[in-house]
């Protein structure tokens, strides 16, 4: 039977970022300079409010080998828990010196990635349930056909994490810990370690957002 047709468009298909993603998104890592202004893994300026933290880790494949050609992006709220975007109308201060977005490549030898940022505040979630402080992470590489979305939570926020509506969506409690970055202090710097396991034992939880 003929019915009226919807006229939604279809999303363009994803394709892998490939081995040379750095040329486009981080040309300096590919070994050359072209743009005057480059996006980077440092999210802060001296004016940014909040506790300085480093996030570091590796992205590991199904054989246990770190990916050495992966590109990661993070998106996060500021220290007060507000996103620097017009859709966020929470009654909290903005920080003009903090976009909240950064991009990092893993090291071509070690596979280690790092971000220099601040620890975000808690953001209001659905139905008024506050979400624990977290950072949104997106991962692409050769062999990844569509970007992987996950979240980084913080080991020193156990109480907030226990109430977090998103962590609680994960039916298998044992898998929730794959989203918790471990806090360490090294020479006075705060470092959160966050390894991502794409496949296999302790596979990281990924979201269909």
């Amino acid at each position: 039977m003929m019915v009226n047709q919807f006229n939604y468009l279809k999303e363009t298909a994803s394709q892998t970022a490939g081995p040379y993603v750095h040329i486009g998104l981080a040309p300096h890592a590919a070994g050359f300079d072209i743009f005057e202004n480059n996006f980077s893994n440092v999210l802060t300026t001296p004016a940014t409010r909040g506790e300085r933290i480093r996030i570091e880790g590796r992205v590991i494949d199904g054989s246990g080998t770190p990916l050495r050609d992966v590109l990661l992006e993070i998106w996060q709220a500021n220290v007060d828990g507000r996103y620097n975007h017009p859709a966020d109308t929470q009654d909290k201060p903005l920080d003009d010196s903090f976009r909240g977005w950064g991009r990092a490549c893993s090291d071509f030898e070690s596979g280690l990635y790092t971000f220099e940022t601040i620890k975000p505040g808690a953001v209001e979630g659905r139905h008024g349930r506050t979400m624990a402080p977290h950072i949104n992470l997106w991962i692409v590489a050769r062999g990844i056909n569509i970007g992987l979305n996950t979240r980084i939570y913080f080991s020193d926020e156990a109480e907030a994490n226990a109430k977090d509506p998103v962590l609680n969506l994960i039916e298998w409690e044992v898998r929730r810990k794959t989203l918790i970055a471990q806090r360490e202090e090294r020479d006075g710097d705060v470092v959160y370690r966050f390894d991502v396991r794409i496949q296999g034992d302790n596979e990281t939880v990924f979201f269909d957002v």
């Binding site: 468009l9 363009t12 394709q15 976009r99």
Partner: protein
């Protein structure tokens, strides 16, 4: 800025039938780089409906001109082309101010990348990357050299069809997309394991840019048209209103 007429609802559930699955064994690298567990479905919160905002003054005047943005002592070798199109969402509305980043091989199929060992030469006047922000109509354009196909390690005689890699920021982090644009008439498209990771003929077709004769520049450049669709947002109805969001 008055955005009161804009809606910032959650995104429509992603229609995964247009996308390649994570595990596509003919593309061998995907075998160990694909999660085995199901994705956990997440209703959008502020974390997904917001995303980074970019400014025009962060880009340079030649960033969308790959013919000139790395020219050292001459012009790059190859066919001069313009690539242009509109970025829209699933509702058909323009996606304004989206960062569009592109990267590609040179005319001989070689990337300016320290990990590319293919024997075709580097072009001293070609970097192979560019970027541009979409305007209020969602429109973007850049000028470049048509990339060449190149061999890659998958099966012994696999060659990638000529392609340009595209990255799109959209207006919310859940719209983030990376894809590849192919060229009308390229016989390598039909057998490429990366293209064929998409199990949907219609979705593949939308990645193939047709020649756009109306946009040719006489005695200078041919043109290809590549329109892109990012996820659309719901109107904020009833209980779907997101706390703290407009």
């Amino acid at each position: 800025m008055n955005r009161s007429s804009d809606q910032y609802g959650e995104f429509y559930q992603r229609d995964r039938s247009v996308h390649p699955p994570a595990y596509a064994p003919d593309y061998k690298t995907s075998i160990l780089r694909s999660p085995k567990n199901a994705l956990i479905s997440l209703q959008n919160s502020l974390s997904e409906i917001t995303g980074p905002v970019f400014r025009q003054d962060e880009l340079g005047p030649l960033d969308n001109d790959l013919i000139l943005n790395y020219a050292k002592d001459g012009l790059p070798i190859g066919e001069r082309i313009i690539v242009h199109g509109f970025v829209r969402d699933e509702n058909g509305r323009p996606v304004k101010n989206s960062l569009v980043e592109v990267w590609q091989a040179n005319a001989g199929g070689r990337y300016r990348h320290k990990k590319d060992q293919y024997l075709a030469p580097i072009d001293p006047n070609f970097g192979g990357c560019g970027r541009v922000l979409t305007d209020d109509n969602g429109y973007y354009f850049f000028r470049t050299i048509k990339p060449g196909p190149y061999p890659w390690r998958n099966r012994v005689n696999d060659w990638r069809p000529a392609h340009i890699h595209f990255s799109l920021s959209g207006d919310g982090f859940a719209q983030r997309l990376i894809t590849q644009m192919y060229f009308e008439g390229d016989p390598l498209i039909a057998t490429c394991p990366i293209v064929r990771s998409i199990n949907n003929e219609e979705a593949v077709r939308t990645l193939i840019a047709p020649l756009d004769r109306n946009a040719f520049v006489q005695l200078d450049s041919m043109a290809y048209r590549f329109d892109i669709v990012l996820r659309g947002r719901r109107a904020t109805l009833f209980e779907n209103r997101i706390q703290g969001a407009k």
